[in-house]
Symmetry: C4
Subunit: 417 residues, 4 copies
Amino acid sequence: MRSAPRGNAATELVKMLIAGGVSVDSLAAAPTIADIRLLARRRLPRMAFDFVDGGADAENTLRANVADLAKVTFDPRSLVDVSTGDLSTTVTGERMPMPLLLGPAGSVRIFGGDGELSAVRAAGKAGLTYTISTASSWSIEEIAAEATGPLWFQLYMWRSPDIVRNLVKRAADVGCTALVVTIDVPVNGKRARDQRNGMSIPPQVTLRNAAGAIRHPAWLASLLRGPAIGFRNLQGIAEGSSAMSHQEYINTELVNLSATWDDIAWLRREWDGPLFVKGVMSLDDAEQAARVGADGIFVSNHGGRQLDSLPSSISVLPRMVDSFGDRLSIIFDGGVRSGGDVLKAKAIGADAAALGRSWVWGAAAAGERGVERVIDIYRSELRETMILLGKTSVDQIDRSVVHFPSEWSGGRAGVRS
Amino acid sequence: MRSAPRGNAATELVKMLIAGGVSVDSLAAAPTIADIRLLARRRLPRMAFDFVDGGADAENTLRANVADLAKVTFDPRSLVDVSTGDLSTTVTGERMPMPLLLGPAGSVRIFGGDGELSAVRAAGKAGLTYTISTASSWSIEEIAAEATGPLWFQLYMWRSPDIVRNLVKRAADVGCTALVVTIDVPVNGKRARDQRNGMSIPPQVTLRNAAGAIRHPAWLASLLRGPAIGFRNLQGIAEGSSAMSHQEYINTELVNLSATWDDIAWLRREWDGPLFVKGVMSLDDAEQAARVGADGIFVSNHGGRQLDSLPSSISVLPRMVDSFGDRLSIIFDGGVRSGGDVLKAKAIGADAAALGRSWVWGAAAAGERGVERVIDIYRSELRETMILLGKTSVDQIDRSVVHFPSEWSGGRAGVRS
Amino acid sequence: MRSAPRGNAATELVKMLIAGGVSVDSLAAAPTIADIRLLARRRLPRMAFDFVDGGADAENTLRANVADLAKVTFDPRSLVDVSTGDLSTTVTGERMPMPLLLGPAGSVRIFGGDGELSAVRAAGKAGLTYTISTASSWSIEEIAAEATGPLWFQLYMWRSPDIVRNLVKRAADVGCTALVVTIDVPVNGKRARDQRNGMSIPPQVTLRNAAGAIRHPAWLASLLRGPAIGFRNLQGIAEGSSAMSHQEYINTELVNLSATWDDIAWLRREWDGPLFVKGVMSLDDAEQAARVGADGIFVSNHGGRQLDSLPSSISVLPRMVDSFGDRLSIIFDGGVRSGGDVLKAKAIGADAAALGRSWVWGAAAAGERGVERVIDIYRSELRETMILLGKTSVDQIDRSVVHFPSEWSGGRAGVRS
Amino acid sequence: MRSAPRGNAATELVKMLIAGGVSVDSLAAAPTIADIRLLARRRLPRMAFDFVDGGADAENTLRANVADLAKVTFDPRSLVDVSTGDLSTTVTGERMPMPLLLGPAGSVRIFGGDGELSAVRAAGKAGLTYTISTASSWSIEEIAAEATGPLWFQLYMWRSPDIVRNLVKRAADVGCTALVVTIDVPVNGKRARDQRNGMSIPPQVTLRNAAGAIRHPAWLASLLRGPAIGFRNLQGIAEGSSAMSHQEYINTELVNLSATWDDIAWLRREWDGPLFVKGVMSLDDAEQAARVGADGIFVSNHGGRQLDSLPSSISVLPRMVDSFGDRLSIIFDGGVRSGGDVLKAKAIGADAAALGRSWVWGAAAAGERGVERVIDIYRSELRETMILLGKTSVDQIDRSVVHFPSEWSGGRAGVRS
């Protein structure tokens, strides 16, 4: 610690300024995921930012996801020897360095740069599992080529068994260890912001959004670099018209309104590894998932992007854990914005949390470095929160360290108990 | 999906702009009823917009209607074969293509254009029931002449049995299938916004609102086209002074503070078809409605326009259904702004929902096309929400798919249980 | 109703403007008490407006008074013959034309004009009881000289029995029918706004508030007209220094920290008529009031101006009524802003409501005419609300027509049940 | 009271202005702690203001501390003889003139002026206990030299027993009567605002915060006066690099992740006087504190600066008092901003409250005079609130005078009862 004699004030100010330095690395200085989101917002035109930021309809569920996580409070223990701390956990036999994985997100190139490739590289460096989305803007193989960590593959149960079988086989071929089948998108949710912004996939520049696009030339140039944005996973196996929008194509060609749990049972036979069912919000669906042999579920309302007025993910987690925690691995997703949020889900009984918007904001803010920063933030928050809770391993974190509203436990439907 | 080689960035931008197109049809691009409302607000001077948007006194009930619907959450089922979906339902023997009807609204010409005529045409195209208001700015016969779908007739129990009998007979003559008698307007509610704006019927331009009127010349011109705005249903049978305002005339000449359930019993004998009592918020009134032989009730607080500090409509619906669902058809009205809201009411046990402000906003925004757009929004939201709930028919939608606050069930009055 | 042929649009607009008229009487056009408040705000410099509008400390209680009244909802009955309606009620044997009285407020000349004289004249015209405040800016006799309706007298239990006896005797001499002794001002509450504004009694113009005073010259002139603002009731019997501020004088010369229920028992012997104890918020104090022979209580937290963090008045009313409704008359005060609020208190079991800020805002807005307008608003809201509740007399209004939060009933202290 | 004849209006205005005076002493005119905070904000650049004002992460706990105190309401008694009032109380045998002490805060010179020296002088004048922080910007001895009232010493259980023993011995040597050992800082909480502002200890001027620093030259000059800001208590016993930031140094050199309750047991043997454990939020930790022989605990979440999403301090106080009130002295800290807040904690069962931000804001606003003003505000608020509650001694204030939410009593963890 300095205690040198002090000089003249003006001189001192200049010295301080020199010592303080002129670093303006806003990414490194961004302390929280909320700050990363703001960096992403600055880089993107509204049509692109809203595409990741927005939710379905009135966005009740989107808000509830975040607001309800804030209602969970901690009951910490102090003066525990926390000189050693183990953030790692095991999910369906797979060791994870943190109770955290990068959940599926598609069309990430829309946010500029390399999209999914940036994220899978950053995940690999951290040893985190990355989930390839069927709807990613790079193919399974292109993403896998950049991966140095574990991969999972997210699957839509599209109309053609051939397409599904093709995707599953390719996922196996590149070494994906688990399959995550999404069940909450029989139709696309209604994203009011996208409609207002004239947003489509591939993005189209219209009078409605041209001004925003032109004000972000770096973003626009990035869109025009590389292959056109679309479903590269379906290239060669499912040909759509170039004029057809993302939503149109999905709604008319791929979605399968007839899919049932029998199809998951069939998938179960096709796939040897761990199988997760993603988008489970009712106890009935969890029961079905267990019945057809799924290894786990994602308790998820699709980040508030599908059916609006679903309850928050965290508010249904206690019942899910109480009813199925012994039979199913449970991945939590919905509103996670901090390491504390991850540990709230873990304490209630989830095995791990999946990130969605968090890593996409990172990619949008600064590509691979952005996703690395996001992972760093989560890692240090997890470590710090675990220490402050008085635990030396995330697997010790259980309900003894949290409080949550009593109405989150109890009855199944109808009147809220 | 395109994967053509990419050209020069500037050329590409121009191409995208051309491909994106220059459509600026704000009606077609309006994704939600909230957007339609904003279009209406742009078209109308404040005095007219507030006339439909506002409620009574401090507008506690107006806000509660919307806020409480957001407290209902869904408990969905996935992986149900929803390839077929049936939105139709039956209310008092009448088949409806959706669990939705256009409820009564009067003086619609105040919002410009053809008023009720636009709406009845749009309803007809969709096969939706349209409810003619006694206070409509066109006569029963004028509206019926434009109708191609079912009609109901809304009736005030005014002082003179002759006037009432005249109205009922005319409604029968034009083929109205059901009668909806409004019981919650013994006096007009106090619409503070209208008083602040100097709003009356017919609208008067005063120093207080002249600026707004002049800034909306299309609206002003539309007012001046066609017949003067007033109660055309009463022309020839009840003559008021031309100088008397709407509210004065109703309060002094028509309202019947002596009306009782005996009058409904009398009306029951006068009318053969289905009879609904509109404006039922207490279990006692529902009991009376059943006693005098009504077929159904509208659970309604008049959109928060009559007695302020009534509870929200949705919060009294569970008790109504539990007590009278087996004896009365129940139409829900109050705060409905989306297909999801309609299905919340349906799930709790209403037979259908009646739209009020929604369709008036549509008419104000773009006349007949505006109401069509409103109906399209509801239809697609109903279909999508039903699919996401895992149901193939709206009639399957019951309490197993919703949660609501426990205090909405239970005791009758006094302390809230 | 007009149906004359329509002329040219521009001509028509001019005709409408002429017909609409150029009235700009903002008082007559003010539909609610909230509007009257805004008129008062426009007329007053901030130091004066805040003196009536503000509350103690963080103003938690001030806000709770209003917010909790909005939590009471109505359970109405329709189709009751309400062609006759009786707003009158009886409190301690005194017939009141409405369940409403003008509660005590002092120093009203600070808000310009005639202060209390305006109010007592307006109350007299309506036959409403006016409560003379000990701290009024006119003497008991000066106010009584203008009164044409019933008078009550509000008393502080000041240090000197001689002063108290003098005041009580004078109140009796001018014909006051009831005595209202205030018990919640052993010291003045801390009005943070007044301290920020440099407000005192008599008001002083300082650098802190001079700008506001100068921008309201009519207000300033009105202050300078007539006698200096001070405690005219104490003139001749208690002489303070002219330099001493209102608060200083009260705190040093008059307040009586030693007052106990024995003093009320003494007062009970001194005064033959009805005796009310004002400022009762605990069941213990109500018990004491009954014990010493009071006829009634004001359930009141002094409008949030004394002890902050008191519960809202309405939230303690149910327990008060349940425990003492059969032994004490109960006047409700705190947050009343509409006829509906009055009927909520009446329904829970209060005998009448006392107005405070409402009538002071009226006086500040437009003197006697302003108070008349306030009374008119309450009268018409009371009448309309009673009709919409399906009652023909305010005395029929009981708990069958209201819901309120269940935690307002039950236990006495400590944990909120 | 003046009743002199009134002169001409303009003359009168000038007279009033002269009489009113031109005092602009904003400190004396600041009525509440919230006003003192605003004065501090005006004096400080954002980086310094946020350092005291901010909390950890999303600041959920910071907000909850204040919001939950507002949920406690009073149940007062009137007409008690309160002519004598005793604010004094006894904590672990030490007489306090008010149930209030200055809790530990470090690095106070960052807010300008003399920092801790100002505060200890002001505390001494009022006879209040001042808690010297290990991290203070003056040494134990330098602070003690200015003290005229009781001193406590706050201790971190740093890695080296020698350093700890050295600090404890010095505290004893200067006459500290109690030891307060902080247990909730095994690592520093994440202060997002500080990271955004580029705030460190000693403060560094960087491009990110230079503008703010330059706009507050008095503050900057004050920083440069006197010794460099750092841990003067560690000078000579623990040498850090001059380039190392506060947080780095603490995290790498001093923090002791291995500390356990055994270390407190050891400390208990080292220190004869009263021993408090600060940062207890769980019943388990309170149990441990009692077990190892602590005399008391600080129920504290470190002002929301350590683990975010801890419950508010006040919401855990009832359970703490119910379980340990008979075995441990309980100091309350977290969100206290008024005398009323202190009495809420006292009523629930705390022995006294410790101030944190309150006195630091005072020091930042006006040095010693600012802290004196803060103490004066608390004293007068305590006195006034006690009178309005009808109590003559703070030690009479118990649960009979408060209500609080029922969920604050009851179960230990997991589901909130």
